[in-house]
Every structure is written in C-alpha cells, then in structure tokens.
C-alpha cells in the first residue's frame, strides 16, 4: 500500500551503482575482485552472499570509495569513485560496518549521531531535527547522553546504524549487521531494513544468514573467489543445484521443500510463511 505509492514516485530504473570491468588487489596480493560488471538500480535490495574471503566486503567498500579499483571504474550516481572524495560520496552512501566498536568514536550517543550530519555541513536547526527523529525512531531517548562504548552489544549496533541513517543516505550498505546479535536486535535491524526498502532506498545486505536474504533481498549476488558467479532473484539462486560448489547452503525451509518435493511441495519455497500456505491446505485435506 504505502510501499507502492513511494515506488511509483521514484524512478525505478535509475542506476544507483555501476561497476565496469573492475579489478582490485590489495598491495602485492593476488586479485580479490576479478572483472566485476554490475548495475544496481535505485530501490533494489541486494543480498551479497559467499564464503569468507570471497570478496563481499571488498566489493561493498568500493561502493563508497573506501577502496578504489586497481582497474576499471565504479560509479555512484554517475560519480566516478576515483575522482570523488569519500566525504562527497558519503552524502549518497551510508556504510554500516561489521563491528560497531570500530565506528563509534564520539563521547555520547547524541554526538555520535550528529557526527555525520555535521560533516555534511547542514545547519544547526536541521541537524537537531534529524537527531531528534533518529533518536526517537531507534528508541534511544534514554541513552542519549551515555558513552556509546559503554552500551550493550545490541545497543552499540543500533547506535551505529542510527548514526549512519542520520545522514539520510540514498544507498545503505549493511556489512553483516546481524552477526553476534540476539533476536531482539536482529528484528530491530530487519525492521529498519524493511523501512528503508519501503522508502525506495537502495539497500545492500552482506550476510551469512540465508533466511534473511531469502526474505528481504530482491536480488542476490553470489560471490566466489572474487567473482560474481550468480546474480538472480533469491528464488532462482536458492534452487540452483550448483550452490554447494560455492559453499552455500539454501535456507533450511528451502532444503525441506526440496526433500518434500515428491509429496507435491514446490522446490522453490523461500520462507516459513510460504511453506505454511502450501502445506496447510494439504494437511486439512488429510484431516477431513
């Protein structure tokens, strides 16, 4: 409902991120990105999966200019990352790092959240307004004056995310945001992701948690040894038989659907809700 309204007013086909023939190697090492060609449209929710060391974070760091290609070019809204300062790219792109402890640097939650907007050169009135909104949205009212590093792991992650979203980025990159988080924080984070999607922002989600990808991503990139080996919808990706070759296991519910396929269950089920929809009528028939 709300979602479709927002989508209709943003140009869905506008290209947000574009990689053209990108190769990258850390100094003196072999290539960790090999000939990446990629187009991400505004409003897409991309899940990036792949084993450790396959190049997921390296790819994501190119999207904000923290790393620059050794060969080829990366464009963020047609800004070439090689020619644009990170502080300018940061207006369009927000990056939530894997470990919140590596991104919290101010002495109170409030200052932490205002760090980004201040760097953007917004006026005081605007900054105050934004901090207020974000603090309310994340339910951080009680923690405003606490030192960020004195908070619990979950709270630290929320503050880290809040401080990125305070900059109002059009593209938000989450690098394993839910690893080491309990269910409460996990649901919070995914609620945020969902909201960003509904607002028509581009979301990049790096994770090892397949059910999350299955549920939230509109498109999945599978990375293997520095290459994008699959680039399709989650439904297509998770039913590929060669996933095992890339050391990826589909969500448990998809595996179950596969095992039950001889009982007439479709193989391409992604979520528990879908499974319920298929299986409940059959159970009822059996009961009667």
């Amino acid at each position: 409902m709300n979602c479709s309204k927002i989508f209709s007013c943003t140009n869905v086909n506008k290209v947000a991120i574009r990689f053209s023939n990108v190769w990258f190697s850390y100094a003196g090492e072999s290539f960790s990105l090999k000939n990446i060609n990629l187009k991400i449209n505004e409003g897409e929710c991309i899940g990036i999966i792949g084993p450790n060391g396959s190049g997921k974070t390296t790819l994501a760091k190119h999207m904000i200019g923290l790393l620059r290609p050794s060969r080829g070019d990366v464009f963020i809204y047609e800004m070439n990352t090689k020619k644009t300062a990170i502080s300018d790219l940061a207006r369009a792109v927000g990056y939530v790092f894997q470990n919140p402890d590596n991104q919290l640097l101010m002495s109170s939650v409030k200052e932490e959240i205002s760090f980004g907007p201040k760097n953007l050169g917004l006026n005081n009135e605007n900054i105050k307004q934004r901090i207020k909104e974000v603090i309310r949205e994340f339910g951080l009212e009680q923690l405003e004056d606490r030192h960020p590093l004195s908070l619990s792991v979950g709270q630290r992650q929320l503050v880290a995310i809040a401080s990125v979203l305070a900059m109002d980025p059009k593209i938000v990159i989450f690098d394993e945001p839910t690893s080491a988080q309990d269910f409460v924080t996990y649901s919070w984070i995914m609620k945020v992701v969902n909201k960003l999607r509904e607002q028509g922002r581009t979301v990049i989600l790096i994770t090892h948690h397949m059910p999350t990808v299955a549920q939230y991503a509109s498109r999945v990139l599978v990375m293997h040894q520095g290459k994008i080996v699959l680039d399709e919808s989650p439904r297509k990706v998770f039913t590929k038989s060669k996933l095992g070759k890339y050391n990826i296991k589909p969500p448990p519910i998809t595996i179950l659907a596969n095992l039950l396929s001889s009982y007439g269950i479709p193989r391409n089920i992604l979520t528990v809700e879908e499974m319920c929809k298929v299986i409940l009528p059959k159970v009822r028939v059996h009961e009667t």
């Binding site: 502080s87 790092f97 590596n102």
Partner: protein, 237 residues
C-alpha cells in the same frame, strides 16, 4: 647458517658500541659497509633494504643540514669543515644503528627472542607480555584503519582540511582505540587463563633454541673485536 638470537643481539650491541666509540668517517664507513655486506649475506631482499633507506632519507638530510648550518662553537650559517665532518659522521652513525637493528628485526622472529629471554631466566610473565605487545601491533593497526574508514564513510575529513581539524579528527580516535584495546586485553586474559597460563612454575617449550659452539665462537669473536678496539682507542687518546 642459523644463529641463535642471542648471538644476533650480541652482534647488534657490538655494532652499537662501535658506532659510538668510532669517531672518524673512514672507520664508520667501513662499519656501515660491513653491515650492508651482512644484509646481502643473509639474503634478505634488497627491496627491504631500500625501504629502510628511503624511510631514513628525511631524517638523515635533516641531521646533516643541522650540523652543517649550525656548526658547534661558531656563529650560525658559517661553513666549517668540522660541521661538515660531524654531519657526515652523524648520518653514518644513524645508518649503522638503524640498519643493524633492522637486520636483526627482519631475520629474527619475536618468539625466538622470547624463548631465549626465558632461557636466560627472565620471568616468563614478563617475556610473554613482551611478545604479546609485539604481536598485538598489527591488530591495533587494523583497528585504527577500520576507525579511519568508518570516519571517512560518515563524511569525516581526516586526511584533508586544516591541520587543526585533522589533529582533532585523529584525537577522537584515541578513546575508542584505548577502550577496544582494554576490551581485547581482557578477552586475551580470559583466553589465556582458560588455557592454563601460569598453572605450573616450570614451563616446557616446543622450540628449543640451542646455543651452539658456533654461537659461542662468533659471540666471543665479536666481543673480542669490540673490546680490542675500545682498548686501542683509549691508548691512542
């Protein structure tokens, strides 16, 4: 030829002592050539030597100019032979000390040195703290890089702008770095204790570093050379 780390340290301190008691350009130059010869002898890549030399250039030029421009006992900016000589001498001394230290550092693992230190009956806790400190440097560097990345990603201009702003940006990294460091130290403490660190007073070692006859011979040779030169120096003066 594998030498005991102690022998290498003896060599290094021998070179240090010589570099201070030798005070003419020719003898220091010979000492420097002997060290560079050693670099080639141990087959450390030439590139590494070049890296060290490059990083020393600015400091060496600075020291040299200081001695030439401000000669001791004369008015400023008057060219004096002594100033020039002293400048060259100081630069040679710098190269000798840094390159000999670098040679030992690149050819000896910190764990080998630790084993030796424990062997000469230094308390193991101290030796372990020493190695741990060295091993944690890369991890701190990594943390620092990540913090800088995070700051840049939120529009922080840590590598641009006015000097004062940059200084402030760097200062803001200190608190998280220390807090994360303390947290890490605590985790390491727990990990160490859960693996029975300090359970017994006597500890066994996997790698034994033997002080062989070759080490004795070389160490005694180095000490003899250094002491002889010291005696000759004092007689001549």
């Amino acid at each position: 030829m594998r030498l005991n780390p102690i022998t290498k340290l003896v060599w290094m301190f021998g070179v240090f002592i010589l570099s201070f008691i030798l005070s003419n350009i020719i003898s220091l130059l010979l000492l420097l050539i002997s060290i560079i010869f050693m670099w080639f002898l141990v087959k450390v890549s030439v590139r590494e030597l070049v890296v060290y030399l490059k990083s020393l250039t600015v400091l060496a030029i600075f020291i040299f100019l200081m001695h030439v421009l401000f000669p001791r006992g004369y008015s400023l900016f008057t060219f004096q032979w002594e100033g020039l000589q002293l400048g060259i001498l100081m630069v040679l001394r710098l190269l000798v000390i840094i390159l000999s230290f670098a040679l030992v550092a690149t050819t000896t693992s910190i764990n080998d040195i630790a084993t030796c230190l424990a062997k000469v009956k230094l308390p193991y806790e101290i030796v372990f703290a020493f190695t741990l400190a060295f091993n944690l440097i890369p991890s701190f560097k990594n943390d620092l890089d990540n913090l800088i990345c995070a700051q840049k990603a939120r529009g922080g201009r840590i590598d641009r702008g006015k000097f004062r702003d940059r200084l402030r940006a760097y200062a803001s990294l200190i608190t998280p770095l220390i807090i994360n460091g303390l947290r890490k130290a605590q985790q390491i403490r727990v990990a160490m204790e859960s693996r029975a660190f300090g359970a017994f007073n006597t500890r066994t070692y996997i790698s034994t570093s033997e002080f062989t006859r070759r080490d004795y011979v070389i160490s005694i040779m180095i000490m003899t050379i250094v002491i002889t030169i010291m005696i000759f120096k004092s007689i001549l003066i």
